[in-house]
Amino acid sequence: MDVEPEVPNPPSVAAAPVVALDDAVAVIGGFPVLAGATLSIGVGEIVLLRGPNGAGKTSLLRMCAGLLPISRGSGSIFGFDLATQRDSIRPRVGLLGHRNGLYGDLSVFENVTFWGSTVGATSAEAEAAMSRLGVDGRLRDVVVSKLSAGQKRRTALACLVARRAELWLLDEPHAGLDAAGRDELDGVLRQAVGSGATVLVASHELERAGSLADRIVDVVAGQVHEPGAST
């Protein structure tokens, strides 16, 4: 007898915030990298994570991507439980961390097409994503290993666009970009938000990222604090 695969449905998706963490704790090697993070982010927001190195910003992004298991507390992304439904979260999330996730021996077009193809995107969508990030034209067929750091970063962002990510988790996205590239990135993020995406960005470039963000939250010693909010 055929059994229909059970597709998990998030409870009341429309009402749920995109990111909802409640006293979330994550532990790596016995060390609590997140020590009770509480955060709520609505659809279409750009939120800046601010904090010193080692404060837990990257861990927070990895938890939201479903890569870091939640040890205590609770959390959900798009209404899907971070403890039990991580597989349902991942296809809707795009994480750009310290590494770009690109294949150095493939061209820009081949990389963007590959990542787009994982969600069924067409070559035309890949071309459009490359065009938005300025890695089309003469860069289209250049192998990624021959690109500058900034061009690699833009290619990685084009992959996120091609993957149709709904929640963008960006760790130091401005690193390695020149002034024009940073402006382009800001434009892409605003455009992504305009088309319904939500952005959580960790950055040390407070002036630039701060002007882009709707809201700034501090991450200190694995805990999240909102400036001005009562604790």
């Binding site: 795009g94 994480l95 590494r99 770009n100 996730g101 150095g104 493939l106």
Partner: protein
């Protein structure tokens, strides 16, 4: 996208990277060739070489397998692509099958080259009657080796010292393939007067091994890379 399409996508990507980087042709094949020549130096007696040629082919294949597996997962690890595949929610079973297929294609090319090297260097002969058994051995052994290589490549991908850990884990596991494939090729080549019919039971062992790791590996790969990376 369905699982099979993703697997083809992954396999195509790996083979395109290989075609562009030429690691197989410029590094792995010469390494395997040098290994065969070194065996010839070490066992410098023509009768003995012809007798042990099947075993040497598979030993050289296993050593080269380790290099290919390291390469297969280093392209995923260099810029965090394996992590990115996980974040993208790409089906780990499809990743496993895709990477196994790409590895299998490269192994098949390698094995054919090693067989030619054995004919040229060791004076091995391939009788027409043994061709079917020989091809069946190559196919079943390649499937098993590709599946084991991909499984353990994924397992060690996130570990420090994976270059030394991988041979330690893989070589004992593939011992049945070494034994079965060597015996089957001995029968196919008629080495030492072994009858052709004696080779077929070994194909059964190779097939069981390939199916066990093809199915078991696909089930285990997801949880393993989840823990390893």
């Amino acid at each position: 996208m369905n699982r099979w399409r993703i697997a083809r996508l992954i396999a195509g990507k790996d083979l395109r990277i290989e075609r562009r980087s030429k690691v197989l042709t410029n590094q792995v094949l010469p390494f395997a060739g040098v290994t065969m020549v070194m065996f010839a130096f070490a066992l410098d007696a023509s009768n003995l070489l012809e007798r042990v040629a099947p075993g040497l082919i598979w030993l050289a294949t296993l050593f080269s397998l380790l290099v290919l597996v390291q390469r297969s997962f280093s392209i995923e690890g260099e810029d965090g692509a394996l992590d990115a595949l996980r974040v993208a929610g790409v089906d780990p079973v499809a990743v496993y099958w895709g990477k196994s297929i790409a590895l299998g294609v490269q192994l098949a090319v390698l094995e054919v080259m090693l067989l030619i090297a054995a004919v040229l260097l060791y004076g091995a002969e391939v009788p027409l009657g043994g061709v079917v058994l020989l091809l069946t051995t190559l196919v079943t052994a390649t499937c098993g080796l590709a599946c084991v290589g991909t499984l353990y490549g994924g397992l060690t991908a996130g570990f420090t010292g994976r270059e030394t850990l991988l041979p330690l884990l893989v070589l004992p596991v593939v011992a049945p393939v070494l034994i079965g494939a060597t015996r089957a090729v001995e029968s196919a080549l008629g080495t030492g007067g072994v009858a052709l019919s004696e080779g077929w039971p070994w194909i059964g062992l190779l097939a069981v091994f390939a199916v066990a790791f093809g199915v078991g590996g696909a089930l285990a790969f997801g949880p393993l890379i989840e823990e390893a990376t």
